[in-house]
């Protein structure tokens, strides 16, 4: 690299771009490698399994056939419906419970509540695999196996979400709270009427990340949903792949159905998704 001590403040634009060529090459390769498996998934879903195996990369005309075979052999609509139902219910309930808690912890905080909060944070170090056996016993005792309750109960109150709402509640102006109290609003109505509308952005980010996590979860659903009628999309596609011979076209059609909802969310709500990931870290 040249010594730029005496460079003019405004350098020649094309020379800057020329020096960035290695950067562009690196970024293009990284982008290509990131996107290619998606392209391949979509192209494979439109091809016959033999063509997929031969390495055909262009789109084919077997999409209809793959979909037909998928529907004939697997209960796609049930799994898709289940996944939507579980993920939406879990998102709504988790957002309500965790935002309420985050609001309570931040705006009503005293040393006892702060102590409770730091105890709750300890739950972050509990791995899923360590609680799945006791939780399975609990859910089966309560008759929650193969139900939305069994699916969501362990996931609707998370330290991550509570912390995210608590952190973001710091920006909530305390004056509004006081003014609303003078106006005679009850505490819970202040939450619904004042807090909820102001915190829309946080809710959006939390909703995206919770929906994604619920949709993609696999280990716990595999434990608690042991009936085919109750299974989710990730479980369905894992089953397709578990067979002795794999029809790649059919499999990738299934993978496509499992990925489209999260990909749509990703493209439309990328900013909220990013905020959701980094949400509790500030």
């Amino acid at each position: 690299m040249t010594n730029t001590t005496n460079m003019p403040i405004k350098r020649n634009k094309s020379s800057i771009q020329r020096r960035l060529i290695p950067t562009y090459i690196f970024l293009i390769i990284a982008s290509f490698l990131s996107v290619f498996p998606f392209y391949w998934m979509i192209s494979a879903a439109t091809n016959k399994t033999l063509d997929v195996a031969r390495g055909k990369l262009t789109f084919g005309s077997a999409a209809g056939e793959n979909l037909h075979n998928l529907l004939a052999n697997y209960d796609l609509w049930t799994a898709l419906g289940n996944s939507f139902k579980y993920a939406i219910v879990q998102t709504v309930v988790a957002l309500f419970i965790c935002s309420l808690a985050g609001y309570g912890f931040e705006l009503y905080h005293d040393k006892y509540k702060d102590l409770v909060f730091s105890i709750l944070l300890l739950a972050m170090m509990v791995p899923q695999v360590a609680t799945m056996i006791p939780l399975f016993k609990m859910m089966s005792k309560m008759g929650f196996l193969n139900t939305v309750w069994g699916f969501m109960l362990p996931a609707i109150s998370t330290p991550f979400l509570i912390m995210m709402f608590r952190q973001n509640s710091r920006n909530f102006p305390i004056d509004i709270l006081e003014a609303a109290r003078i106006d005679g609003l009850s505490e819970i109505m202040i939450f619904f009427r004042m807090y909820l509308p102001v915190m829309k952005a946080t809710y959006a980010a939390a909703a995206v990340i919770t929906f994604m996590n619920a949709w993609n979860s696999y280990l716990w659903p595999k434990v608690v949903l042991n009936k085919t009628e109750a299974q989710t999309m990730p479980m369905l596609i894992a089953n397709i792949s578990g067979g002795y011979t794999v029809d790649y076209g059919l499999l990738m059609m299934g993978v496509l159905f499992c990925s489209v909802p999260t990909m749509v969310i990703f493209f439309i709500l990328q900013r909220q998704f990013t905020e959701g990931i980094t949400g509790a870290v500030k």
Binding site: F38, I133, F136, E187, V255
Partner: protein, 299 residues
């Protein structure tokens, strides 16, 4: 407003605060703290799930765990993924973030979206995509054979070293963009003028990277490091769906092996599985403790 009334209003508000945090607190107590205690108790028991009795001797399951070759393989595999994959991924992520933070680079948004895109897939989906790509009759084999790099199709997923490598490649693919987002957020906190000043002082790209970016991103690096270790210790979906733990358990992870001993393969050895899962819990807890300690030091 008289004092008494004021106090009762305060008390009412305080109670409201407690009501608000009670549902979440109870749920975490019942769904995390109670089960982890149950797991500890179960880990000292043996027998089928319906009629479990205290183990004889009480540490039976733990003694068995350390003599279980397969579990030790699973521990070894998990740590291999950790040691190889986490550094590669984080270095790549930080490099990409640094490149994308340069305001002269065009199409930054597009590059960022592309590299971030793998996060839009579920872990099962991408595992299956990679499984198909690297299958013996899959695309990668076809390309390598056509290019003359391979003489004949190679069974990547049926050979221990290559199967492990593919899990690592897949993990890097899935999570690099995710970590990059944290670094980009961290870099936005660094004033651009710092870089300008460094440029004027004659620092080149690498020098700027090592002496400005890395030190300023230290808190973010520590955080992503801890998150990645935590995630790796709990790997499950990839082991189950990409390699099925094989060949001959050479890629199986701890969570996968615990699952097999409790819900998979017709075995329901809850006592033994609980002992192993408590081992994972202790690893994660140690990690969290280190995190707290390092976190305290950082500012």
């Amino acid at each position: 407003m008289d004092n008494k009334h004021k106090n009762s209003v305060r008390a009412k508000q305080d109670r409201a605060g407690w009501y608000f945090l009670t549902p979440a607190t109870l749920l975490i107590a019942i769904m995390s703290f109670y089960p982890i205690i149950q797991a500890l108790l179960t880990s000292f028991k043996t027998g089928s799930s319906a009629a479990m009795t205290w183990a004889e001797p009480i540490t039976f399951n733990y003694a068995r765990m350390f003599q279980d070759r397969r579990f030790m393989t699973a521990v070894g595999n998990t740590f291999l993924y950790l040691i190889v994959q986490v550094p590669i991924m984080l270095i790549l992520a930080i490099l990409l973030a640094q490149l994308l933070n340069n305001k002269d680079v065009k199409f930054r948004g597009l590059f960022r979206t592309c590299i971030f895109l793998p996060c839009a897939t579920s872990l099962v989906s991408y595992s299956l995509i990679f499984k198909s790509l690297f299958a013996t009759q899959g695309l990668i084999n076809t390309i390598l054979v056509n290019l003359g790099i391979l003489k004949e199709n190679f069974n990547f997923l049926g050979t221990p070293w290559s199967a492990r490598m593919i899990i690592i490649i897949a993990l890097v693919w899935r999570w690099t963009g995710y970590n990059m987002v944290f670094y980009l957020a961290g870099l936005q906190g660094i004033e651009y003028s710092v870089y300008e000043a460094a440029k004027i002082d004659g620092a080149n790209g690498w020098k700027t990277f090592w002496h400005i970016t890395v030190p300023l991103l230290r808190p973010t690096i520590i955080m992503t490091f801890i998150m990645s270790i935590n995630g790796t210790l709990q790997l499950f979906d990839e082991s189950v769906n990409l390699t099925s733990g094989g060949p001959a358990n050479s890629t199986i992870t701890m969570s996968h092996y615990i699952y097999n001993n409790s819900f998979g393969q017709g075995v329901a050895n809850f006592g033994y599985a609980s002992a192993m899962s408590f081992f994972v819990f202790i690893l994660v807890a140690i990690l969290a403790a280190i995190n707290l300690k390092v976190g305290d030091k950082r500012d």
